[in-house]
């Protein structure tokens, strides 16, 4: 997030696009709802489904799945043509405005309506609310990123915010809400194929030599493979060994049949986890790990706040903390790693990572700190891009709308979109073990519009069979107007109805995120 969670409550307008906030980030949704109910902020919701946030919205834009760029361009068209944009800010702090303006000219509200299905007048209203707010925050999640145009979608959001001068101010911002507790931290710590900690590129000689000196070994300059590329390489026999820490690609990755084949090709699959996940079941070696309640450490939340994790319980049996396992294995392999406690590891991170340099356990004892925090006296950073962007001037991107990779046709006439529900989490390995959660949400449901259900002869609670070009799953139908006609919604928490047997592994060309949010399917009564 460029800005902080708390700022959401005190801003004037909130534009939530592709985020089912009440279910995926409930506590952030409380800030949004408080902003609306207690402080008079205006909420704009853009989502194909009638999510709970709609109840609090001043206006709801029901765009067709995968048409976000067209919608955002439409809003920018209105803002520019009505002269509502921040002219001074655009002039002083950005570049690329003219090229962007040129593309956007085509996206009149009427043209955008044709692509998105959102009435032209609603596009105008939303654009005006956002532009006239004085300060406004954009919230988004996977509903924006999990498309082949995910990178474009994100850039479009940034375009809109810059156009109105809402980046680099308190209460403004473009805020991706992170789905998993420590996605932010995993990225910050360099668990990415192209960067070390703090996004320092592996291909940069100077950076590499800094790490080589600190670690006492020569390091490879060639960028590595992403998850999806790794699985493809494993499938082709180019990757022979895979070490998986606490992930479950057997349920979370697109096109599961392919994933299983890939994993079966490996000479060595090691899985380190707290439970025997679907992926662990295929492993050659499984290592039992301690869970968050059984170890010390830190997580970094979606607003870049580094916070302490504390040990409350002993790990069961012989299970050990992940850091201990990595240290011991490394030592076995002839590279001794010796740390007395996670605090010592953080000290090494402080030394090698400018943005984390001032984040020490001593300071975290009291309160979390938001990076960048370059030294021990720095208070941390509430919002980014104050006065100047990281790259100097903010860059507008001229973006055209590109349709999803797979659109409905005669054989697969429905759009399927996927997501989470409040009560479950990710692949369900953890959340499904809870009594209360299971009581509230025991099984997967396919949301389908009443008209479609009637046509197909599917009744509430009856099993529906959903088929895509890649696979088939069955789940009980939930007949509801939450979804638009022609679209079904499924969650990915349940292995009994593993939607990723169906989803399309088509990747966004830049950030390689699969297009989970749109694929074409056929629906029948089972």
């Amino acid at each position: 997030m460029t800005n902080s969670i708390d700022e959401i409550e005190y801003t004037n307008a909130i534009f939530a696009i592709g985020t089912n906030t009440t279910e995926n980030h409930p506590v952030i949704s409380s800030k949004v709802k408080r902003a609306v109910r207690l402080h008079g902020a205006k909420l704009i919701v853009a989502d194909p489904r009638e999510i709970d946030m709609v109840k609090y919205a001043a206006i709801w834009l029901r765009q067709k799945p995968g048409t976000d760029v067209a919608l955002l361009n439409g809003m920018m068209n209105v803002i520019i043509s009505e002269g509502l944009y921040a002219k001074e800010y655009v002039e002083e702090r950005t570049e690329g405005f003219d090229a962007m303006k040129k593309i956007v000219e085509k996206y009149t509200p009427a043209y955008a309506e044709k692509i998105t299905g959102v009435p032209a007048d609603d596009i105008r209203t939303a654009a005006r609310i956002y532009a006239k707010a004085g300060k406004a925050a954009i919230l988004y999640t996977m509903g924006i990123t999990q498309h082949i145009t995910g990178t474009d979608n994100v850039k479009s959001c940034a375009n809109l915010a810059m156009l109105c001068g809402y980046l680099g101010i308190e209460g403004g911002g473009v805020d991706p809400l992170r789905g998993q507790n420590n996605v932010q931290g995993a990225c910050d710590m360099g668990a990415l194929p192209v960067v070390f900690t703090g996004y320092q590129p592996v291909a940069n000689d100077e950076t590499r030599s800094k790490f080589e000196k600190a670690w006492g070994v020569a390091l490879p300059p060639k960028p590595g493979l992403t998850i999806v590329e790794t699985l493809n390489a494993a499938h082709d026999g180019k990757v022979k060994a895979l070490f998986v820490v606490g992930e479950n690609p057997m349920l979370s990755d697109p096109d599961l049949t392919h994933v299983k084949e890939a994993l079966n090709h490996l000479d060595l699959l090691v899985v380190q986890d707290i439970l025997l996940s679907e992926t662990a079941e295929l492993a050659h070696v499984v290592l039992p790990a301690a869970c968050f309640a059984e170890k010390e450490g830190t997580f970094s939340n979606t607003e870049r706040r580094v916070q302490r994790v504390r040990k409350a319980l002993d790990a069961p049996g012989q299970a050990k903390a992940d850091w201990e396992i990595i240290c011991e294995l490394s030592t076995h392999m002839g590279y001794p790693m010796k740390y007395a406690a996670p605090e010592d590891i953080m000290k090494e991170i402080n030394r090698l990572t400018p943005s984390y340099a001032g984040i020490t356990y001593e300071r975290l004892e009291k309160e979390g700190i938001q990076w960048p925090c370059p030294n021990a006296d720095h208070p941390g950073t509430k919002y980014l891009h104050k006065d100047r962007f990281t790259r100097g001037l903010g860059l507008f991107h001229a973006l055209d709308y590109i349709p999803p990779a797979e659109v409905p046709d005669a054989a697969y006439p429905f759009v399927m979109t996927t997501g989470r529900v409040l009560y479950q989490y990710h692949t369900g390995t953890m959340s499904r073990l809870s009594k209360g959660i299971t009581e509230r949400c025991p099984e997967s449901l396919v949301e389908i519009h009443p008209n479609d259900a009637k046509k197909l002869g599917i009744q509430e609670g009856q099993f529906a069979k959903v088929t895509s070009r890649r696979g088939v799953v069955q789940a009980k139908a939930k007949v509801t107007e939450r979804v638009p006609k022609g679209t079904i919604f499924m969650n990915f928490h349940f292995k009994e109805a593993a939607v990723n047997l169906l989803t399309n592994p088509a990747l966004d060309p830049t950030c390689k995120i699969p297009e989970y949010k749109v694929c074409a399917v056929k629906v029948e009564a089972a």
Partner: protein, 355 residues
């Protein structure tokens, strides 16, 4: 801008305070104790219980200090016989109109009604004890409602509507039959309730309790460990309540501040059964003859080290890849990428941020 303070007197003490503050706020800021019950930080002051009454010189009746803004020159007494008598009457009525059996109550020791009774030194209520006789709600395994213990303070309603803005709870009925709960007198499980548990954290008595924590440890035996939720990216600060090596329940704490100011959702609150679930992995496993068999740590390390070394030798470091995790700590992610880069010699390391 300099805010002009005004002066007033509480219990004979001359005090400077900011206009707009309530009597209660000023008293608290100056270390003067006034008991309260319905007042709840972060929500509207409703003045429902009248436990916080004080004597204001010149006022016709005793006033509820939680709702009354201060005036210059006010003379306030918090400890007159009339104030105490009024407080006793309120507390005795509350006691007598419910089933306050502290012997088995989960709130015993942290209950605000119990504290008031003790503080006001009430031996016994002067009225006959008549519990309304509601059935205890046991239709879900997360939150137990015993409305026979409810003091109708409305804190749960304000917690649900103002703190979380879930808009589930309200008052229903009138007089002796007034009740708090979801619309249409539904049980929680049949309502729009999303089981955030905020109402339970807010309840001053034992009317709303965490069902699975029942008989699992008394408040003074429980150790609270502050940590960060393991589910979504909000990173809520929460307290793991531990007794005898067991995770008993999860509570929020408004004093922890950002990012969640004590608020939680159902996952952080009720989603942690996995921690002590019998399915947890407890020993390393190595596949032998197609089956995963228990092994020692040394065997497992030996097996992995040998295999990785031979694959690296035969096919090069880039034939090895690692997936780190958005679930493990920063320190662990750091070490894992260090392991892949420095020990294996490849940049093939990623995690599922994209998925």
């Amino acid at each position: 801008m300099e805010i002009k303070k005004i002066s007033l007197t509480i219990d004979g003490k001359e005090i400077q305070a900011i206009p707009g503050q309530t009597i209660l706020e000023v008293a608290r800021a100056n270390g003067i104790y006034i008991p309260t019950l319905c007042q709840y930080a972060g929500t509207t002051n409703v003045g429902a219980c009248r436990v916080c009454v004080v004597d204001v010189a010149g006022a016709r009746t005793l006033v509820a200090s939680c709702c009354m803004p201060i005036n210059a020159g006010m003379v306030i007494k918090t400890d007159t016989p009339a104030v105490r008598a009024a407080q006793r009457l309120v507390v005795e009525l509350l006691w007598a109109s419910g089933d306050h059996n502290c012997l088995t109550c989960e709130a015993n020791g942290v209950c605000e009604l119990q504290s008031l009774v003790y503080w006001l030194q009430i031996e016994k209520p002067r009225f006959n004890i008549e519990s309304p006789g509601y059935e205890i709600e046991e239709t879900n395994t997360m939150i137990q409602r015993d409305l026979n213990k409810c003091v109708l303070c409305g804190r749960c309603i304000r917690a649900c509507n103002e703190i979380q803005v879930n808009e589930v709870l309200d008052f229903a009925g009138r007089g002796f039959r007034t009740k708090v709960g979801p619309a249409f007198d539904a049980d929680y499980i049949d309502s729009e309730c999303v089981f955030c548990g905020e109402c339970v954290d807010s309840c001053p008595v034992g009317a709303l309790t965490f069902k699975q924590a029942k008989f699992q440890g008394r408040p003074w035996e429980i150790k609270k460990v502050k940590t960060t939720c393991t589910y979504c990216g909000v990173g809520c600060q929460l307290d793991l309540n531990i007794h005898n090596g067991k995770l008993v329940k999860v509570t929020g704490n408004h004093e922890y501040g950002q990012p969640n100011e004590g608020r939680l959702c159902v996952k952080g609150r009720f989603g942690l059964d996995f921690v002590q679930h019998p399915n947890r992995l407890t020993t390393p496993l190595i596949r032998k003859n197609g089956e995963l068999k228990e092994a020692s740590w040394d065997e497992a390390y030996e097996f992995i080290a040998k295999k990785l070394a031979s694959i690296k030798k035969k096919h090069g470091a880039d034939s090895i890849a690692g997936f780190s995790s958005a679930r493990v700590t920063n320190e662990e992610n750091y070490l894992f990428q260090k392991f892949m880069r420095a020990v294996i010699g490849t940049n093939n390391v990623d995690h599922c941020a994209r998925l």
